[in-house]
Amino acid sequence: MLVQVLRRLAVFVLSLVAASVLVFAFMAVLPGDPAQIALGVSATPESVAATRAAFGTDRPLVVQYAGWVSGLPVGDFGSSYVSRTAIGPQILDRVQVTLWLVLCATALALVLALPLGVLAAARHRSASGAVVSGVSQLGIAVPSFLAGILLVTVFAVRLGVLPSGGWVPPAQNPGEFVRHLVLPVVALGVVQAAVLTRYVRSAVLDVLREDYVRTARAKGLGPLRALARHGFRNAAIPVVTVLALQVATLLIGAVVVERVFVIPGLGSLLLDGTANRDLLLVQGVVMVLVVAVLLVNLLVDLLYTVIDPRLRAG
């Protein structure tokens, strides 16, 4: 098992390196000179050259890459070409915001999806199961930004009970923090819940078909009790996997909801960086997002190795 874990870690490190090269190379081919863009439209060639030297964009690409990548492990993403401020703290600020949003949405999704999914599986032959399946299908089909727009229209504009958007840090005012979080979390979470419900249902269905659960049911236990006694752990593995990856990909997926609700999250930072041609910033944000997915993948795989005896043997 140790060998397996070590091998997995090696793959992770290699993936990180490969990802950083990919991201850097991709940004290096971006048209437009950051120095020129930072200085505005009719700057003198001398000042452009000076700024280029200050940015370090006049160095060979390999040197630039080495400089960039060596800072990453300690959270040094360089300084923005546009705002001339350090990128690391900016990303940190935004990650916190997006994490709040994503984790709360995921929690909401879990709260909704677990009972609904189990219900849909246990009652999959009855009408209630079908209704849950149908509703979850509909939920997946509604784009989260449409859900967001409708929520704002109803709850913020028409009823005026919740703010239409914006962000208040929890430390500044916990009450306002929660009020501002409700609508975006619902917009994001409900769609997530719809997706998750389908996974929970299928995972539970799979477990219900396992021999040991069938035996338990043959002894007279209802599906839920049989499940409760024997199956939850097994059903939980695939669900946790999906959940973890949902969280990782939602970091960027939340960008649409961030835009609708004017939330200064990671996705908005990426969009702003793109519009301002803030290369290093974009590079940094993309890298953070990619590392998040890779890291979650790693954790999930390690979890498997630890939990699942079959994989451990194999």
Partner: protein
């Protein structure tokens, strides 16, 4: 939908004047109550604006959002532009005198003015600030306007003399813009994050991607503003900004980006809609430097092919004003030139035939700004009527549009609002992306620059007409300034003729 008629708009403007008069009276009478410190909670205001500053340093970073937030509020200038009259009025300079030959400006400064870092503001700072614009420290292109200054002499702590190398009708006006901002030598270390000026407000917090908060300072030299804390909140999305106002997240929409929603606010008792004007000419540029638009007849054909009222109706719900040249109605040399190239598709087709072009395909490269995306689609449809196929290509603003259109001049037609004040001169720059080179126009402007003030206006008027007749571009209309505010907010800068969103006169009842 029904469009506001000219008459109705004229009425609105009239009502506005009354409101503004009322507001100054109102603030006078409310003095006693706000003078009771025990009761008065700090008055706050949240204003929604569209573009967020990329940095807070306008000396090295271009973009209108920085002076919009900081000029007159945090930084002050010797003279400022009055947002009502559009005239140059004293600010840090108590008074100024211009010599008869137009070469020497003598400014008398207010006493007891301090920077927000506590340092005193004196004539030395004026010298320092002006010379700093000319130095390498300033990198934005606007600094060129300061190159005309030959020397700055400090004659006493409150008197400074600026000598120009040649007379200029423009320089004093430029001193009301960001290049006229007064800096302290001890306050320029971290301009991108910590601005230090003499203005009534200081930067409190700047949360990127969200908002910027200004707070009043105790030791301001002039009359303290009524509102003690102003939050400028930035919205990428026009609808999000509207929703914020409707749900109480902000008190004012600084510039309404989605005019169609105006009806919603106009019908609501809680809000007041203010319509003013701007310096923003929406320019449909045609690349004069290359075919097909190197032919004046083709350019004129485009102008005749466009029904500008229809474009205005679709893009700004009928708000805004048709102009016909590169001059907004608030400039002294404005003249209605809409009759130079009226909407006349038959004439357009005749001109195209005369020029010998048919089945014209043009690359229409526009920035991804809401008004450009909307207007371009109407333009495309109208040009199709006369047989011109404009292929719309949307480029991200600022980066890609600046790169492709502005720098490389790789375009046939584009569309963007030029919001800089008194910017007709850009057509005299042969390197500018219009590719318009006309010695006669250039010499007219040159003469105007040094002429006496009466002649100046006449020559500028002549230049504008020349530009229009030559179809150097098409000027679709001047952007309206649409503000929506809660009823109790008064004194907002209704006309956006300066670079600043001037908060110093704002009051809350």
């Amino acid at each position: 939908m029904s469009l506001p008629s000219r008459r109705r708009r004229a009425l609105a403007a009239g009502a506005l004047a009354v409101v503004l008069a009322g507001c100054s009276a109102g603030s006078g009478t409310s003095e006693p109550s706000s003078g009771d410190p025990a009761e008065a909670a700090p008055s706050t205001l949240a204003v929604g604006l569209a573009a967020e500053p990329a940095s807070l340093d306008f000396t090295t970073t271009d973009g209108a959002a920085i002076p919009e937030a900081l000029l007159y509020n945090v930084y002050e200038t010797l003279v400022k532009l009055d947002s009502e009259s559009g005239e140059v009025v004293p600010l840090l300079a108590e008074d100024y005198e211009v010599s008869d030959d137009g070469l020497t400006y003598t400014f008398t400064l207010h006493e007891d003015v301090t920077f927000s870092n506590g340092d005193e503001f004196t004539a030395d700072d004026v010298k320092y600030s002006i010379e700093r614009v000319q130095s390498e420290a300033w990198t934005v292109s606007l600094k060129e306007a300061m190159s005309i200054v030959g020397s700055v002499e400090v004659s006493s702590p409150t008197e400074v003399v600026v000598n120009l190398s040649e007379p200029s009708n423009d320089w004093l006006y430029r001193m009301t813009t960001r290049i006229g901002a007064m800096f302290s030598e001890t306050g320029v270390d971290d301009l991108a994050n910590t601005p230090v000026g003499t203005g009534p407000y200081v930067l409190d917090t700047f949360t990127r991607g969200d908002s910027l908060t200004l707070a009043t300072r105790d030791d301001y030299w002039g009359e303290a503003p009524d509102v003690e804390e102003v939050t400028l909140r930035y919205f990428e999305d026009a609808t999000a900004m509207n929703n914020a106002l409707l749900s109480g997240g902000i008190d004012v929409i600084g510039t309404l980006q989605s005019p169609e929603s105006l009806e919603r606010f106009a019908d609501d008792d809680r809000f007041e809609v203010l319509e003013g004007t701007t310096n923003g000419e929406l320019v449909l540029s045609m690349n004069n430097a290359r075919p097909p638009f190197d032919d004046v007849r083709v350019r004129q054909a485009v102008r005749h092919a466009l029904d500008r009222q229809a474009i205005l109706d679709t893009t700004y719900a009928g708000y805004g004003e048709l102009i016909g040249s590169m001059v907004p109605p608030t400039d002294p040399w404005y003249e209605d030139l809409t009759d130079v190239a009226p909407y006349d598709p038959a004439q357009a087709q005749a001109l195209l035939a005369e020029a010998g072009v048919s089945d014209l395909n043009v690359a229409f490269r526009i920035p991804n700004l809401p008004y450009a995306v909307t207007a371009s689609q109407v333009v495309k449809s109208q040009l199709a009527e006369v047989g011109i196929n404009a292929e719309i290509e949307v480029l991200e603003f600022p980066a890609r549009w600046l790169d492709v259109v502005f720098q490389q001049n790789d375009y046939d037609m584009s569309l963007i609002a030029h919001v800089e004040p008194r910017d007709m001169t850009i057509f005299a720059d042969p390197d500018y992306y219009f590719g318009y080179v006309d010695p006669e126009f250039q010499s007219t402007l040159e003469q105007a620059g040094t002429a006496d003030s009466e002649q100046y206006v006449e020559l500028m008027r002549q230049a504008a007409r020349q530009l229009s007749e030559d179809a150097a571009a098409d000027w679709l209309f001047v952007l309206p300034n649409l503000i929506v505010a809660e009823q109790d907010v008064q004194g907002l800068p209704v006309n956006r003729v300066s670079e600043s969103f001037d908060l110093t006169g704002v009051t809350r009842a």
